[in-house]
Symmetry: C2
Subunit: 217 residues, 2 copies
């Protein structure tokens, strides 16, 4: 896959060794993240809204109610910044100064456009559903016409993107390694817990295998 | 505690029953979230950057290297949006349309200013360290003068804020409850895993109790 271009907008200045501009690093972060944070500007004021996303090739798809401020704004084609972040662990160094986190983030730049055809919306909604829970689209009751009409889908082609990744143990100043202070990493993964039946679930319906075996990535 | 004012900026229009403007709902979300996403605007372009934060009363503190784009921008007093999000579970309804997530988010609006005194910076760094890992500040080697000079601290008083919270089982259309489709919630908490020693850890230094017993909130 090709690298994204580096411009003043997406070039990482702090800790450039942690940065990457290639799709093979960036796409898996987007795909593993359950949600993203979308940034947009109205009258000079930034807004940052968490929402579910999915990726179709080099396009991010967002969805929601037609009345949503985020979607109405995104549909205008104004510039957006979409950020996906995974926190993998707390990095506890001997010095406060070298404390850090292990993380993977992807910062994406692009402009939204409204999905115009039913086919485009349908494909996006299937991709979003399968992003959150692979196997669910085929199992659930799929959208009817009223629901399709109530839903907006926004497509954002990724123009520029940056991943930033930190892994591994703390890095302390050489003279601090002698200190009698514990140092290491505390992993902080999301661990799915046993599914909770809907209180109104009918008798005799088992938890599907794709829910029981759920795991990100 | 008083409610935050509702204005055009922070008023929730979609699903207003999920919204709240009171500090007793908003502060615990800020405090439980390990990181936030900060939105700012440069030349009309939104940027959304993940970073560690902490709360001191009604003020959010951010920190980082002096060269950081985010901190340099925040120091100018330009408007910021700071969003903290916790994803508690996947809500699997019988219909695709009613799929959702259980989540708690806090969207905060304010303007940054650079911490000016050493005392202010010191207090902020202690609060940030203790936000991520309570007990760590007293145990680790605290910042020296060179480290303090290399670090910027930004203070953002919260002017307006909104929490949005969804909990509980799916809500399907009445006629869909008869469908033979499993429905329920898959909890998706962050579960700390056993700490990993730094490979360069000296012999005889045990994992501290506050690391072993780590839990958010």
């Amino acid at each position: 896959m090709t690298d994204f271009p580096t411009t003043d907008r997406n070039q990482v200045r702090r800790m450039p060794t942690r940065a990457s501009y290639d799709a093979t690093t960036i796409y898996p972060i987007i795909d593993e993240a359950l949600i993203c944070h979308v940034g947009f500007v109205e009258d000079g004021q930034p807004f940052v809204i968490p929402t579910i996303h999915a990726r179709m090739d080099n396009t991010i798809v967002l969805h929601g109610a037609k009345a949503s401020r985020l979607l109405k704004h995104a549909a205008t084609g104004a510039p957006l910044c979409i950020t996906c972040t995974l926190v993998d662990g707390l990095v506890l160094a001997r010095s406060v100064f070298h404390h850090s986190m292990n993380y993977r983030s992807a910062v994406l730049f692009g402009r939204g456009r409204l999905a115009s055809t039913t086919e485009e919306k349908w494909a996006a909604l299937e991709t979003i559903t399968e992003h959150v829970m692979p196997g669910r689209w085929a199992d659930a009751r799929q959208p009817n016409e009223i629901e399709m009409n109530a839903t907006s889908v926004i497509l954002v082609d990724i123009e520029e993107a940056t991943a930033k990744v930190r892994t591994g143990p703390p890095g302390d100043d050489e003279e601090d390694y002698a200190l009698p202070i514990w140092a290491g990493v505390l992993p902080t993964p999301m661990i799915p817990q046993p599914p909770v039946d809907d209180p109104r679930l009918n008798e005799g319906i088992d938890v599907p295998g794709y829910v029981d075996a759920y795991w990100r990535k």
